[in-house]
Amino acid sequence: MKEIAINRLPVLTYRYLKTNDTKILFSAPQVSAAADFSDKTYVTVGAEFPENFEGASSETLAAALAGEKYTITIPSGMQAKLTIEIKLENQHADYAGAYHFLLQKGAKLELVWKLSGTEAAQGSYLASYYELEDAAELKISKLQADLAEATLYDQRFFKLGKAAKADVASAELGGKQVIVHSRGALNGDEAALTERTVYTGTGKQHLDLFYHIDHWGKKTVSLIDGKGALAGEAKKIFRSTLDFHRGCAGSEGEEGDYAIQLSPKAKNISLPLLLCTEDNVAGNHASSAGQVSEEDVYYLMSRGFSWEEARRIIVESLMRPIVDSLETSLQEETLEEIRRKLDAKGE
């Protein structure tokens, strides 16, 4: 194991706060599981990745690239659905894999990622590069649960052509250390990328979430939306950046991070950056953190709910819009997992 720095901010701030990046102990994957595809029509083994594909760190990206590699090409004008499931069972305690998705002009893909497994699992090292040509559309739903002792790296990069659209909805519910590194380049005019995440931090979970979207094309649209609850001694760091580059006139971007604090020992760090060199844009950030509102709890209890039920309803209501944007088959499972974690109070 060695100490590495991950998820470094694109522009730095004060060192004494120790939030410019996160230092973690890194170990390379040992025994690798295999991914399970629902359909291999468009899947080929092997993949190449551009040099500008940056992961959470060079070490974590290299670990993913050292595993199995696939290229998924959706031909121009085609529509496809694909589920990729990774199960980390006792005999396959790690996973390492890298994926290159190419959606040719006008292609559409609905992609579901499912990551689950037992407490014996050690880690998952995932890297995916999404290249969307003009007018291509990508919808990703991701559910990650269980894996109580695992470190989970999910590193993704989106390159969007003209009028291409990518919509990502993730439920980051499991794992001991959850590291997400998502970067998007809105190169084409009118390209759009949304990154929505729900999370529940319990026990000593560490969530390290990094999102960075570059606006290059005109009239591009971005959304980064994180909603979650923190219980026990969980720690969450939410680094998000919207970067409006000169020339991206007419672009709009929003980023938000809303966290409910359920424990006095939970730690919540948020760094929502707005970087701008173009005047004709609208960039907004809103974040809030706090307890479950006493008035809301009181109201629900006056309608017959117990304190626990009232609290759960309020937390769920915060997360529900993102849960509802997941692929239908994942929604109930995600809600059940959120309820299970909140009912356990995470302490």
Binding site: A249, N268, L274, A289
Partner: protein
């Protein structure tokens, strides 16, 4: 007016800098060698005939300065070479208690800046620093009778050692960062204010810092103690004429707000565009105390300024209201820090910035709610207005929460004047430039109304001139 004239843009650096840009003949009674060495520090201390403990602090700070690096997140200051900075320039006068006694050129400078006139009409006391030393200091007799102390910092070190020595350098220690260490090694001038228990200073006190010497540094130290239940408003102004060599300002402001006390600290920074303004300000607020910052940053080539409020006492409060206007050739990295340590503390941050002509305006903020700060409530609002697409505007907040009983809200917006708003005003008969100027004034208004009146007027003039003839 010709079409060419109609299209001519008024640049921010054209705006009313004439008052500030008048250079006096450079005269001094003593000037230390350029650079920062132990010999220079000893010489400054010797010139001031200060106590041994202060020299020891200076020398310890110098060692820290040599050890620390320039923080990697800072703007580029590679053109600032400490070996070429005049660390200490003593003007050709000692401190006076009346303006008439000052040498004519210095008196004229402060006359042009309107300081003596402001003293007559609306201030309870004035300190005026010229280069490295305070040349004028006066406080209303009634305040002095109430026990209010308002003196230059050199006098405070000698006459009020019992008040100064226990707290000097404790709130901003030399290890705070490299330029804090520089400050403690080279400090000269500044003000000391002590407001006794229960005394309300109804009219503001003002210190004005004028740097005339090219290539010089100014390192004034301001220390204010507002004792239990007392209140005070302190105004700090600063300016310098523009030179082709770098000037440096590395002051430090330490503010102690005791139980139930109130302090309002207003700053208008209007340094010239060759100035590196690396200033440090920090306030410690005790139980039920209240700290209000009002900050306007208009000048400097590079500015790094982040007033820090430590809400140590239960139910203590902080409010920060700031505006930054970055024009051509300016990199203004400003913001605020809030540290909630006590229970039921509250803080409001309201920051606005404008950037144009290739200027860079950065908002860099910190909110840290500690594990014991139960019941903390913090609200932050940052708005950035880009007036063209040559400029840069970034918002870099850092929010750290370590307990569950808190309420935090943070909002940030970045963009330009909405076309719909301009269109609406034009349908009501305004020209495009008038509409834009009105909207920018409206954007700045929540901040400008908090500024001392003469500075608010100055800021509105600046906005008007900015838009004059800009639409062709």
């Amino acid at each position: 007016m010709t079409k060419h004239e109609e299209k001519k843009r008024s640049n921010i650096e054209d705006v009313n800098r004439s008052i500030y840009d008048i250079k006096d003949k450079v005269e001094y009674s003593f000037k230390a060698d350029t650079g920062l060495t132990e010999e220079i520090i000893r010489e400054i201390s010797s010139q001031k005939e200060e106590p041994e403990w202060m020299l020891e602090k200076r020398l310890a700070a110098l060692k820290i300065y040599d050890k620390l690096d320039v923080p990697p997140w800072m703007p580029d200051i590679s053109d600032l070479d400490m070996s070429h900075i005049d660390t200490y320039v003593r003007p050709r006068t000692d401190m006076k208690g009346s303006w008439e006694e000052l040498p004519e050129n210095i008196r004229d400078t402060f006359d042009r800046l309107g300081i003596p006139e402001a003293e007559k009409t609306s201030l309870a006391g004035v300190g005026a620093q010229y280069d490295s030393e305070v040349v004028y200091h006066n406080v209303h007799e009634a305040l002095a009778k109430q026990g209010v102390i308002y003196v230059d910092f050199e006098t405070a070190v000698k006459q009020y050692e019992d008040l100064v020595r226990p707290v000097f350098g404790t709130l901003i220690p030399p290890s705070y960062h490299k330029f804090a260490a520089l400050h403690y090694a080279a400090w000269s001038g500044g003000s000391f204010v002590y407001v006794p228990k229960g005394v309300e200073v109804s009219m503001p006190l003002q210190s004005y810092f004028r740097l005339n010497a090219p290539g010089a540094g100014q390192f004034e130290h301001t220390l204010i103690i507002v004792d239990e239940g007392a209140s005070c408003h302190f105004i700090e102004g600063c300016s310098a004429p523009k030179y082709n060599v770098a000037n440096l300002h590395a002051g430090a402001v330490e503010l102690f707000v005791r139980k139930g006390a109130n302090l309002r600290y207003s700053t208008i920074e209007n340094w010239s565009k060759n100035m590196y303004n690396l200033n440090t300000k920090r306030s410690l607020v005790e139980e039920d105390g209240s700290m209000t910052w009002v900050s306007g940053s208009f000048g400097s080539h590079v500015s790094c300024l982040y007033p820090d409020t430590v809400l140590k006492g239960d139910r203590s409060k902080a409010e920060f209201t700031g505006i930054t206007f970055a024009g051509k050739g300016q990199y203004l990295d400003t913001g605020s820090k809030i540290e909630c340590l006590g229970k039921e503390t509250t803080a409001t941050v309201h920051s606005k910035s404008l950037s144009k002509g290739g200027g860079t305006a950065i908002y860099r903020g910190v909110v840290h709610i500690g594990p014991k700060a139960q019941g903390a409530k913090v609200s932050i609002s940052c708005e950035s207005l880009m007036l063209d697409n040559e400029s840069r505007s970034d918002t870099i907040p850092d929010i750290i929460i370590e307990n569950d009983n808190i309420d935090l809200g943070h909002e940030a917006k970045i963009g330009r004047i909405p076309d719909e708003n301009i269109y609406y005003l034009m349908t009501r008969g305004l020209s495009e430039e008038d509409a834009k100027a009105m909207l920018v004034r409206g954007f700045a208004e929540p901040i400008s109304k908090e500024l001392p009146l003469e500075y608010a007027v100055e800021m509105n003039k600046l906005i008007d001139l900015e838009f004059e003839g800009s639409i062709g």
